[in-house]
């Protein structure tokens, strides 16, 4: 049973009541004040984890009409946002990859090609995690890779907490997943969430290919940076990975030839990705995702009980609620009020604004769910962007969603970090030492991309 943190719940209630019962400040409507109260309660609960994330989202949906921020019809209609169904389709496709064994085969396929030396094996772990996190949720990749990496550590007789190589393999697993997760719309649900908020406010969209094209330099550089930092700070103390090689080879042998179900899943997955790339802009991402997911059932590659075992339905509540909250902040003028009356005294140039938003997002994501960061920060970032000439809302989407996905330092930041830390092969100070350097590198690369690359491809 998840722990309920009562003091934080009481704090959330007190803060909400103070906001609700105070006289409306200048420039803020009663509806805006109500939206702000829901924003405050969600901020506290998402940051502290006092309630499960999805329950906080559900609470937001109930409180928005209850406090008078939105009418009930409007609030519940936002649950049906197309981004929620895109995310649902992506999770079902990922469930098929896991239940059929295809994801494990792809992971081992990669590792087998990098098993020659300690450094190459580390590269294999980074690249396999990053590649797979481009096509399925990064958390799922970390959960899938973790037992394999544990067995490798055990086969190599690495000493927990003292072996540099032991630290390196788990950090490479986590960071590979984190980096891959920003590269496409499938790696992290925060990316489609950000696009949904963009569409709600501006009726603009970023397609599947458009996203990859815009962000690809960032994961590319970060993969290189992870190699550099890992080899520099956790130089392998071993020079032979023969036991790991034997383990990987025996696992590949145990898998045997590809099953019919794996082949079906592979074809449907490739077809769906192809359709997202080729038809996504015209047809929309959600219908393609749902069609791909449905086809898995038609060809009997997946059963409903498989889906229930691999997908937690809280995902719908989480993203539906997050979209409703963000929309309420925009519709009621609460986000505009925060920017005008709370942050209005600061005059920012476009570049400083982008840096500021990216820094806030990367700092927050080390302490809270990255989807929550997008839901809380992006509506305000949109208003900030509108107040500075020359900043497009699309830039704001990237300025929040990309840094929000790049949590490298703390186990609490993102599930891949938490999963890696649970093995106890590294200490928090190990991940912080190099993670902060990766955070800084990520911000640096992001700003260089924003300054020099995006203007060249038409993103201003």
């Amino acid at each position: 049973m998840p722990k309920v943190k009562t003091p934080f719940l009481i704090l959330a209630v007190i803060v909400t009541l103070i906001i609700l019962l105070s006289p409306a400040p200048a420039g803020l409507s009663r509806e805006g004040q109500a939206a702000l109260a829901v924003f405050a309660i969600c901020f506290i609960l998402w940051t502290t984890g006092a309630l499960p994330l999805s329950v906080t989202s559900l609470l937001a949906i109930a409180l928005l009409p209850l406090f008078g921020a939105l009418d009930a019809g409007q609030a519940f209609a936002l649950f049906g946002n197309r981004a929620v169904f895109f995310i649902l389709g992506a999770f079902i496709l990922a469930a098929a990859m896991m239940s059929s064994g295809l994801s494990a085969r792809v992971a081992l396929f990669f590792l087998k090609r990098f098993e020659k030396s300690p450094k190459r094996l580390l590269s294999g772990i980074i690249l396999s995690c990053a590649f797979m996190a481009m096509w399925m949720p990064a958390h799922a990749v970390a959960a899938l890779m973790f037992p394999i990496v544990l067995e490798i550590a055990s086969a190599l007789k690495l000493e927990p907490r003292f072996s540099n190589y032991g630290k390196a393999i788990f950090l490479c697993m986590a960071w590979g997943c984190v980096i891959g997760g920003v590269a496409t719309l499938l790696g992290g649900a925060r990316n489609p969430l950000a696009i949904a908020l963009l569409r709600e406010k501006y009726n603009l969209a970023i397609g599947f290919t458009g996203w990859m094209y815009a962000v690809f330099p960032i994961p590319l550089v970060l993969v290189l940076a992870v190699h550099l930092f890992i080899f520099r700070f956790f130089a392998p103390e071993i020079d032979n990975v023969k036991p790991a090689r034997e383990l990987i080879e025996s696992k590949v042998r145990d898998l045997g030839p590809m099953s019919v179900t794996e082949k079906k899943v592979l074809v449907i997955m490739l077809g769906t990705i192809g359709a997202w790339i080729g038809l996504g802009d015209r047809v929309g991402l959600a219908p393609i995702g749902i069609l791909g997911a449905s086809t898995l059932f038609v060809v009997q590659a997946l059963t409903w009980s498989d889906v229930e075992r691999y997908v937690n339905w809280g995902v719908i509540l989480m993203y539906g609620g997050a979209i409703a909250l963000a929309a309420a902040l925009e519709i009621t003028g609460a986000a505009k009020w925060i920017v005008t009356y709370v942050l209005g005294f600061v005059e920012l140039s476009p570049f400083v604004l982008i840096s500021f938003v990216a820094l806030i997002s990367i700092a927050l994501t080390e302490a809270m769910s990255n989807a929550a960061v997008v839901a809380l920060v992006l509506p305000i970032a949109f208003e900030l962007g509108d107040s500075v000439p020359g900043v497009s809302p699309i830039i704001m989407v990237f300025s929040v969603a990309l840094p929000a996905g790049l949590a490298f330092s703390l186990p609490i930041g993102t599930p891949p970090n938490a999963i890696a830390y649970s093995a106890r092969y590294h200490r928090i100070r190990d991940s912080v030492k190099v993670g902060v350097l990766l955070n800084l590198t990520a911000i640096g690369v992001f700003l260089l991309v924003a300054r020099f690359y995006w203007p060249r491809i038409g993103i201003y």
């Binding site: 984890g49 949720p137 958390h139 959960a143 037992p147 055990s154 927990p160 937690n312 106890r424």
Partner: protein
């Protein structure tokens, strides 16, 4: 023969605590109960996080939890085997036990079952403020243990600080 209990766990292993345990049992001519606690709190927290933040189903979280627990257990067997071998070399009577569950509850249960007279445990370096805010299982053990507990602070290998053992 009276007994000294040495507690190890995935997060609480310090060679100095093992040295201290052997030094004490040899000096006082007692027997050693070496215990490795497979702390399920960690694996429960991680699998809960996978469900709560990762939105993955029970199957994934259960597989993950089992992988963590199985690794901890393998590690425990290895560490206890090392202690047992060392006891044999030194001619010390030694019994080994693997406990699975909450660190404090399991430690107290095994201590009570074996009627131990002293407990030795190590812990990671942390500030007292951090222990107060985030809690400390070793502090709970100190409060609830019916027998004296020696705590070996886990000075890191890097800074070579001296072991700070004290009796509570």
């Amino acid at each position: 023969m009276s007994k000294v209990m040495l507690i190890l766990s995935p997060t609480r292993h310090n060679p100095k605590s093992v040295d201290l345990a052997f030094s004490l049992v040899r000096k006082t001519k007692r027997s050693l109960v070496a215990v490795f606690i497979v702390d399920t709190k960690v694996s429960d927290a991680i699998s809960g996080r996978i469900v709560d933040i990762g939105f993955l189903g029970d199957r994934v979280s259960t597989q993950l939890k089992n992988a963590i627990l199985s690794d901890y257990e393998t590690r425990g067997k290895r560490e206890l085997h090392e202690v047992s071998e060392r006891a044999r070399e030194l001619g010390v009577e030694c019994e080994t036990v693997i406990g699975r569950g909450d660190f404090v509850e399991e430690s107290l249960r095994i201590a009570s079952e074996n009627k131990v007279e002293d407990i030795i445990v190590s812990r990671a370096e942390r500030s007292n403020i951090s222990r107060k805010i985030f809690g400390s299982a070793v502090n709970q053990l100190l409060e609830r243990s019916p027998c004296p507990v020696m705590v070996v602070n886990d000075s890191s290998v890097e800074n070579h600080e001296e072991t700070n053992a004290h009796t509570s």
